[in-house]
């Protein structure tokens, strides 16, 4: 089911003259790439923002209290956040369907 970022194109009349993009890659829900999933425990979290800084998929945001949250729609499960967290707050667990 296409998401809201999907740009529907049916035939030649729908496409621009030159290949000019019409939407963003938010259409591409890369959460499905994940083999492993980051689980953040706030316990030791010092809100340093390092996980946010190094996430190559811009999949970490901040919750109301200033703790990091993973956007599972896009997190590819690379494990960088877990590896870089200075407080070992993030664990990578096997993804299940």
């Amino acid at each position: 089911m296409p998401n809201k970022h999907y740009v529907p194109l049916k035939n030649i009349d729908d496409i621009p003259t030159m290949a000019k993009t019409l939407g963003t890659m938010l259409v591409n829900e890369t959460g499905s790439w994940r083999n492993v999933r980051p689980i953040i425990s706030n316990e030791n979290c010092i809100q340093c923002g390092i996980c946010w800084k190094y996430c190559p998929d811009m999949a970490i945001t901040e919750d109301a209290e200033g703790f990091p949250v993973v956007n599972l729609t896009y997190c590819k499960g690379c494990g960088v956040c877990a590896a870089e967290c200075p407080k070992d707050c993030i664990e990578m667990v096997e993804e299940v369907r």
């Binding site: 993009t21 939407g23 963003t24 800084k53 190559p56 494990g79």
Partner: protein, 303 residues
């Protein structure tokens, strides 16, 4: 959370980059520094794929895809096209891989620097042609495996030193950077933005598949690059060298090498070779710092 770099994002989630791609972070940081009044000229490279297929894009600034060897020339054209129509404010950034910079794109870049075009050229250096599946580039370091430098015949030429080549061009501003040191990179990009004329920044960016390592080692490998002295962080402004980060003591280069499958075949004497290369390079770098300070004064660099 505490934020050490700007929070605005100009790269969206959903890119098709590999898990743990350092190149994504590189552009993410660069655009944080430059802000939305920026246009990209992107030649063939991983980023021309990462950004997404038609009709989608993951950068929130205009992006012009251009031929592999033309990042600097197309950027020159865009800049002049803007200028003649009165737009002197938009930052035009050529954003290219190491192959597109030190090999096939060096001519267009050299020409742009000679003409002193008002553009920022950033090379994200992952040390091989990654987009086409890890072939050697002029920026691949000595000792590395790639698909065109098989293990039995690993790369025997030294990495081309593009920043030094830029210095030899008399460029106004050039610098190295590393994705693991985001704050330093952002600072340099901001500085570059405010200088008129050509600026060249080479940012070291990890590539898990290309370096044959796990995706979660992506930042670690980069940090080790800096800590072992393989990747010096320095800048040259109006000819004056300045080292931005001096490890108190270099970590052994093994630590850097052993993390990456592309170096797994190296024998102890090869590691020795890399260590000597590192030391020779730093000695020269320090000597240049001293020499240019003496010649032009410490202020010149700040000027």
């Amino acid at each position: 959370m505490k934020y050490s770099i700007p929070t605005e994002e100009y790269v969206t989630s959903g890119t098709v980059a590999c898990q743990g791609c350092g190149a994504v972070l590189a552009l993410r940081y660069a655009l944080k520094a430059l802000g939305p009044d920026t246009v990209l000229s992107v030649p063939a490279c991983c980023w021309s794929v990462i950004d997404g297929p038609f009709p989608y894009s993951s950068t929130l600034v205009p992006l012009f895809h251009t031929a592999f060897e033309t990042a600097a020339a197309a950027a020159s054209g865009i800049r002049n096209g803007f200028a003649i129509r009165g737009n002197d404010h938009t930052t035009v950034m050529a954003w290219a891989g190491d192959g597109g910079t030190v090999d096939i794109g060096i001519q267009a870049l050299s020409g742009a620097v000679e003409r002193d075009e008002d553009i920022i050229y950033v090379c994200y250096d992952n040390e091989a042609y990654m987009n086409t599946g890890i072939q050697r580039s002029g920026s691949t370091p000595w000792g590395a495996w790639t698909t065109t430098t098989p293990v039995r015949h690993f790369k025997k030429e030294e990495k081309k030193d593009m920043v030094e080549i830029m210095v030899a061009h008399g460029i106004r501003y050039t610098a190295t950077a590393c994705v693991s040191h985001a704050e330093d990179f952002v600072k340099k990009m901001k500085k570059a933005k405010d200088i008129r004329g050509t600026k060249y920044i080479q940012v070291f960016a990890s590539c898990p598949p290309g370096w044959k390592m796990q995706s979660d080692d992506s930042i670690k490998a980069l940090r080790l690059g800096v800590q072992t002295g393989i990747v010096p962080l320095y800048e040259v402004e109006n000819g004056v060298y300045k080292i931005n980060y001096r490890p108190k003591e270099f970590k052994p280069v093994e630590e850097y090498l052993k993390l990456q499958g592309r170096f797994r075949h190296l024998k102890p004497e090869d590691v020795e070779h890399v260590t000597r290369w590192r030391d020779r390079r730093w000695k020269l770098l320090e000597a240049k710092v001293a020499m240019t300070r003496e010649l032009y004064g410490a202020d010149a660099a700040e000027g």
